[in-house]
């Protein structure tokens, strides 16, 4: 900004010849700058992309090729057999369905609950709302690992052990606190006047929630959707804590299952990883605009 402001008057004050020379030099310098920028940015993104490329290449190699030439060598074969093995023999088809059965309701339900709680906590002067918020934040600071055994025993006592309901329940329970915290911060920033106008028009709390606050909180909800989808879809810890039957395991657990006791077929594992990563990538691409917008909106306020 400041640079262009400086440039404009300087250029206007310059004489004809000097002006032409400088104008020629400047684009040249700018061109070099752009080139350097693109080169370094390209290099950086290359470093980021190399692991992904390695996984993709490994996924299309045959196991004998990897065993004979090593994981790091150039590919000597091309086959999609790894994908077939992961999908059929490795049981990733069922696992992907399980993952979606868990993830989609969990995201919807926990965002619904969290947005209601955040609405009440941010828009109304409830008693102990500060304490409630702090409690939710404190719950997030607790490492989940120390709750593994209690959760496993509790789900057993409730008769939910080894069912997908248990996993949905656990995921909602552990997610809601954080979502409420984020949504609370976002909803608090919505101007009070909008709500007052709705009240004057005769809207009750439910109408204010569904017709005023929720539409306005859309960017934050979209951002949280993509975040929570990724977290829940990629979770392994809770899945193996409350599930036991292989046909109920989500994709992350089945990916672990592709690893043998001693020897790992890297091509099958790489193919399985590609399959497991696909849904989160799709969700992210779909929501990335909201994701960035949501982060910005939350940050400026």
């Amino acid at each position: 900004m400041t640079v262009t402001e400086h440039l404009a008057p300087a250029r206007a004050a310059d004489g004809g010849g000097a002006r032409a020379a400088r104008a020629a030099r400047r684009p040249a310098r700018r061109m070099w700058g752009t080139a350097a920028f693109h080169a370094s940015a390209g290099l950086l993104s290359l470093i980021w992309l190399v692991p992904i490329a390695v996984v993709l290449i490994t996924a299309t190699r045959s196991f004998d090729d990897i065993a004979a030439n090593g994981l790091g060598s150039l590919p000597h074969s091309f086959t999609l057999g790894g994908f077939r093995q992961a999908w059929v023999d490795g049981g990733q088809q069922q696992a992907l369905i399980n993952s979606l059965i868990v993830t989609v309701p969990t995201v919807l339900l926990s965002l619904l609950l969290a947005s209601m709680a955040a609405f009440a906590l941010s828009r109304y002067d409830l008693p102990f709302r500060r304490a409630l918020l702090l409690l939710m934040l404190a719950g997030n600071l607790l490492p989940p690992q120390i709750l593994l055994i209690p959760v496993s025993k509790l789900s057993e006592q409730l008769g939910l052990y080894d069912s997908l309901y248990a996993l949905i329940g656990v995921q909602i329970g552990f997610g809601v606190g954080f979502y409420v915290f984020v949504l609370h911060g976002f909803m608090r920033a919505i101007p009070q006047e909008i709500q007052q106008a709705a009240v004057i028009d005769g809207a009750g709390p439910w109408q204010i929630y569904t017709r005023v606050i929720l539409p306005l909180a859309k960017p934050a909800l979209a951002a949280l959707t993509s975040l929570s989808f990724t977290w829940i879809f990629n979770d392994l810890l809770w899945a193996i804590t409350v599930l036991r039957t292989d046909t109920k395991m989500p994709i992350t657990a089945s990916l672990l299952g592709l690893q043998g006791q001693y020897v790992s077929q890297w091509n099958v594992i790489a193919a399985g990883s590609v399959i497991a990563a696909a849904p989160t990538v799709i969700v992210f691409l779909r929501f990335q605009r909201h994701f960035v917008a949501g982060l910005n909106l939350g940050a400026v306020k």
Binding site: D64, D65, A67, Q157, Y161, Q259
Partner: protein, 433 residues
């Protein structure tokens, strides 16, 4: 004074009482939940078999095995395969849960005994009296017996360890399999003079436990299998002069080790050997799964060299098999399935489906019949004693202490005294738990 003395115990008693009431409530909760569980289970009627054989090939072999059992009529079994890493960490949870799997894959020996001492395993001594299990070797019978004298385990297969090499390479370099320690060192020297790294290791990248094979073998060759087991059980100290002798011998061959030994995972070390970069490696037969199929015929092994001829020759032959949960509600059916898994028929079905480098525990069962497997079976059958492996002869908790100590030793062999002191200190913490 009197009241002051009196008050705390009474409060403590109260708390203890409250705790007992709470525990009783919890127990009753367990009982009710388990009784509902049993009714739902008996309606399905099948025995659940929890398996850690999760790699696609082994999983398919297990499915074949269960299908063959189901085809016989009578009791049905349902297989549940869990990722091996998940299984390892969750096994205590499975066994202590109110509604445990009926039958689980795991290891015999001190590992099974640890669970048996907590009354978590079903006593299956009766099925060992009759049928094909009665014909099992005495070594296996001893291995499957817990410290209280009850049989708690049914073995299904085992594999062996040896120094593996490529036949074509040994022919090219003009060297022979060594029998004794001196011949072994001469072989290493010759390979080194030809510009080949003599010994690959593969104790990096998450497979640090592979180095324990060297410790195990040196210890059973120098001090004998009995001392080895006692050492791992905490009856001796890692600072003993006997243990020092093990490391002195190891230091003699350490210069011939691959300098990348603690950087490469064993699967990469296998590739290095197959690509002729290293001459041989001490490894279990499972490594053959990581070799390309067309190279399998070129692979051979020799017995870990004899160091002291007066020590009875023991070999490492880690055994895999099954134990049943003590809380199973299908005792008769589980025993029926376990007896079946011990038959030659069942073990042959599994070996046919799996990669075929392991050996059946049933003396009448046929192995896959390749020269390599025949040689391996002869090796174990000729051994005076069979050890399992470091973690199986001790516990999964002790393994990391060994990984730590051995990795340090390979990097800095001169500091062996301080390494062994630290190892003993770490191990003491595990044993005193």
């Amino acid at each position: 004074m009197n009241t002051e003395n009196f008050t705390p115990p009474s409060r403590r008693h109260f708390l203890a009482g409250a705790g007992a009431v709470g525990a009783a409530a919890l127990m009753s909760g367990c009982v009710t939940s388990s009784s509902t569980g049993s009714s739902s289970q008996s309606s399905s009627g099948s025995v659940s078999l929890q398996s850690n054989l999760s790699s696609p090939q082994a999983k398919t072999a297990m499915q074949d095995l269960v299908a063959a059992y189901d085809k016989r009529g009578g009791t049905k079994a349902s297989l549940n395969t869990v990722a091996s890493e998940t299984f390892r960490t969750q096994l205590p949870t499975y066994l202590t849960s109110a509604n445990p799997p009926d039958l689980l894959t795991w290891y015999p020996g001190s590992v099974a005994d640890g669970y048996a001492r907590k009354n978590l395993l079903l006593d299956v001594s009766d099925i060992w009296q009759t049928g094909e299990l009665a014909g099992y070797s005495d070594a296996l019978k001893k291995l499957c017996t817990d410290s209280a004298g009850a049989k708690v385990f049914v073995p299904a297969s085992y594999y062996w360890w040896g120094l593996f090499y490529k036949k074509s390479n040994f022919a090219k370099w003009g060297v022979q399999e060594p029998k004794t320690w001196d011949e072994f060192i001469a072989l290493c020297e010759k390979l080194k003079s030809k510009g080949v790294t003599p010994i690959g290791l593969g104790a990096g990248g998450g497979t640090a436990w592979v180095a324990s094979a060297w410790f195990d073998y040196l210890n059973i060759r120098i001090n004998g299998a009995r001392y080895h087991r006692e050492l791992l059980a905490g009856k001796h100290s890692f600072t003993d002069p006997q243990v020092h002798k093990v490391f002195d011998k190891w230091a003699e061959v350490l210069p011939y080790f691959d300098p990348n030994g603690t950087a490469l995972a064993f699967q990469d070390a296998t590739t290095a050997m197959l690509n002729n970069r290293t001459g041989m490696m001490l490894i279990g037969t499972f490594f053959a799964d990581a070799a390309p199929k067309d190279q399998l015929d070129d692979i051979d092994f020799f017995q870990f060299p004899i160091i002291d001829p007066s020590v009875p020759v023991a070999e490492e032959g880690p055994t895999d098999g099954y134990f049943a949960s003590a809380r199973t509600r299908h005792k008769a059916q589980v025993k029926d399935l376990m007896s079946y898994l011990a038959t030659a028929e069942a073990q042959e079905i599994y070996l046919k489906g799996s990669s075929g480098t392991s050996l059946p525990t049933n003396p009448k069962a046929k192995d896959s019949g390749t020269p390599l497997v025949k040689k391996g079976r002869a090796l174990i059958e000729s051994a005076a004693d069979v050890t399992q492996f470091f973690n199986r002869d001790s516990s999964d908790a002790l393994q990391p202490t060994a990984d730590n100590a051995l990795t340090k030793f390979i990097a800095k062999p001169k500091e062996v005294t301080s390494i062994l002191t630290a190892w003993q200190r770490d191990a003491q913490k595990i044993w005193s738990q």
